[in-house]
Structures are given as C-alpha cells and as structure tokens.
C-alpha cells in the first residue's frame, strides 16, 4: 500500500491538515498519510517502498526525484526570519522579500 509522507517541517496545521483532508477526499486510508521522522527517513520510504513524499520542486530536484504538483490543494510553507538585529530581519521580510523568495526557489 502506497503512503504519502510529510517532512517534519510540514507537520503544521496549514500543511498537514490540508493534506489529510485532500487525502481523505481522495479515498486514502488514515494510515496512508504520515509524518516522516526526518527527510532522510522520508527518502528511504520513497526509494525503498515506492511511497511519495510531499516536497517542493527544488527539493525534488536536489533529491533527484520525479515531481508533480499536488492536484486540488494549494500548499505553501511559511518561513520565519531570524537575525542578530531585528532591523535586519525586518528589512529581509520587507524590502528584500521578493529577492529572497526568488533565491529560495532556486535552492
């Protein structure tokens, strides 16, 4: 039985709950959606067991996995910015937000 694995960082309501709802509507059993212990564990499930992992396209590229967008659910990750000076964090979140987002996309 194939399973869909979430990375630990996606074990948050605005990702996990959306995925569980979509999985239920698609007829998956509860056991078919799980949170992996770590990205490495998730990859092991995918490579060994033929499961799928919820990841971004850049992540899939890094891990050399085939990637397809999730149908019917728009998912986003939120990121917090931490900096030595709050002033710097504020600028990254503000003026540089678009540039940083582009950088992140290419990671």
């Amino acid at each position: 039985m194939r399973r869909c694995w979430l990375l630990p960082e996606d074990d948050v309501p605005h990702v996990r709950d959306v995925v569980v709802r979509a999985a239920t509507a698609a007829g998956l059993q509860p056991v078919q959606v799980g949170v992996a212990d770590s990205p490495v564990a998730a990859l092991a499930h995918v490579l060994d067991g033929g499961d799928v992992v919820l990841a971004t396209r850049p992540e899939a590229r890094t891990w050399r996995l085939d990637w397809r967008p999730l149908a019917g659910a728009a998912l986003v990750r939120g990121l917090a910015v931490l900096a030595g000076r709050e002033e710097d964090a504020r600028r990254v979140r503000g003026e540089f937000a678009d540039a940083v987002a582009d950088l992140w996309e290419d990671v």
């Binding site: 979509a22 239920t24 509507a25 698609a26 007829g27 397809r68 149908a71 019917g72």
Partner: protein, 298 residues
C-alpha cells in the same frame, strides 16, 4: 509497458478476458487493452436506449411525462418492475431512471416498445458512433437456454451467450459544455469518428442518470471518492461483467473508462473477479494520468 503487463496479470489470475479503453476526455489520450475484442453488451445497451429516448423527447417525438402501464412481467426479472406483481403506471422519463440506475429490464423493454432496437441503432449511427450494434430487447437476451439452468449448478456459467448483440469497447463522452458523443473505438489504427453533437440538456440528463447508478460493486470501489464522481452503467449476464462510465475529478480532469469482460470461471458470484476489474481500471486510469506510458499508449 508495465501498467498493461500488470493488468494482463491481474486479469489472467482472475480468469478474465477483457477489453479496456481509458481515455482522457480533454486531450483524447487513451490507454487500451484488446480494444478490438467484441462482447455482447448485455445491460450496457440501456445507455444507447436512454440516449435515443432522451433525444426523441428533446425533439418532441416522445413526451417525457407520457404515462404508460407496465407489467406485471410474465417472466420475473432481477430488479425493479421485473419483481412487481401488479401493473404499474409510470412516466416515460421515470422509466429511464429505472432502466439506467437499477438496470430494470422490464422498464428497458417498455422503452424499447416506444423506440425499437433498430431505431436506437439508427440514432447511434446518426451520432457517428460505430462499433456498437443494438438489435434485441432485453427479454430476447434473457430468454436464453442457459438461464433456464439452475443458477447454482456448474453449467450456469457456460458461455452460451446470445451472440446477436455485440459491442466493442468504446469511449462515450458526456460533459457539461461539451456536446459531442465520443467516438466508437475500433482499434488503434482507426481514427476516431467525429460525431454530430448531443444537445447540452440531453448530455446533462444522461450524466445525471448514469450518476445515479446503484451498482457500485465493480469499478466504483476503485474510482469513486469524495473528490471524484463516477457515473456509469454496469452490465452483467452469464459470464459477462461490464462497466462503462466517466470519472470526473475535483480538479476538472475527466476520464472515460470502459471495461468489457468475459470470465472463464463458471461461478455466478465472483467477488475477486469484480475486484480485479476495478483494480485494472484503476491501474490504467492512473497510468494514463501519470503519463507513465513511455510514449506508447497501447
């Protein structure tokens, strides 16, 4: 192609011979297994019958609310009016509900009395659908020697099928805003036939009827979810187990699935065969959508 090999294995294990067509109704891509194989279509004939009746109602040849008196049947049938012991008065469009959603043979023959098989056949030709021949009423089909045999005996499943009604796997398309009836499918080498349009209101009614199918033991367990609507007609007779329908996913993806099969096993109840047919439909449906076909769709 792995998906097709897997399906062939599933079918062989279950003692089934099948023809399958799975087609994405948006881009026309399809996966097929033995599409040229012919089968008697059994109750699938109620689909063209319903379509012909709806077209005639649309044109004003028949009145939807015309009430007819039906039965009780001389020979009881499996469902609905076939089990009634008293005459019933039913409107024409309500006969459609019975014929399609509970596969009511008596209701179907009441509709055939209004639109004979040859006329239904002519409607299909006019729509450009080939590969499906409508020649007989349901009573003709069910009055075969095999059905006089005790149902539980070993010979109940002998392939003494009525060879006079044949159909090949075909994709039938009905979508809101999309008025065409899909091509009759005759083989990978033959191009699909463009058909004249089915009026939107007729297509919608047809989808509604098929969406009300109460028989969910064959392909439905593998295709129907909260996020995907499955509308279909099943056909079961002797060794034949068919189902033809359309799955509409929440994201708009629409796939026609047609499975026609004959069993080499002489048992009437075969839950594993039903499950195998559903599994095959799902495997090919997923292979089509996942585009895992290595560029070769047959």
């Amino acid at each position: 192609m792995r998906a097709l090999d897997r399906v062939r294995g599933l079918l062989a294990d279950a003692g089934l011979q099948a023809g399958v067509v799975v087609r994405d109704l948006d881009d026309g891509r399809s996966v097929v297994l033995d599409p040229a194989r012919q089968f008697p279509c059994a109750s699938l004939v109620k689909v063209p019958l319903a379509l012909a009746t709806l077209l005639r109602i649309h044109r004003g040849d028949l009145a939807a609310d015309d009430v007819v008196t039906v039965g009780p049947p001389a020979t009881p049938a499996d469902t609905g009016l076939g089990r009634f012991r008293h005459p019933a008065r039913i409107a024409v469009e309500d006969l459609l509900e019975l014929a399609v959603t509970i596969s009511d043979n008596v209701a179907a023959d009441a509709l055939f009395a209004l639109t004979p098989p040859a006329a239904v056949d002519a409607e299909l030709r006019a729509l450009g659908v080939r590969g499906v021949a409508v020649r007989h009423r349901l009573a003709d089909l069910t009055a075969t020697p095999a059905l006089r045999v005790e149902r539980r005996s070993a010979t109940a499943g002998e392939p003494l099928r009525n060879p006079r009604r044949r159909s090949r796997p075909r994709a039938v398309r009905r979508r809101p805003g999309e008025r065409r009836l899909g091509p009759g499918f005759r083989g990978p080498a033959d191009p699909p036939v463009e058909a004249t349009t089915v009026p939107e209101v007729v297509a919608r009614r047809m989808r509604d009827l098929l969406g009300g199918n109460v028989f969910g033991h064959r392909l439905a367990p593998d295709l129907r979810t909260d996020a995907s609507r499955w509308s279909s007609k099943t056909g079961t007779l002797l060794t034949l187990r068919h189902e033809a329908g359309v799955v509409e996913h929440a994201d708009g993806t629409t796939v026609a699935v047609v499975v026609l099969s004959a069993s080499t096993v002489v048992a009437t109840q075969q839950p594993e065969a039903e499950a195998a047919l559903g599994r095959c439909a799902r495997v090919l449906h997923d292979a089509l959508l996942d585009d895992l076909l290595d560029g070769d769709l047959s």
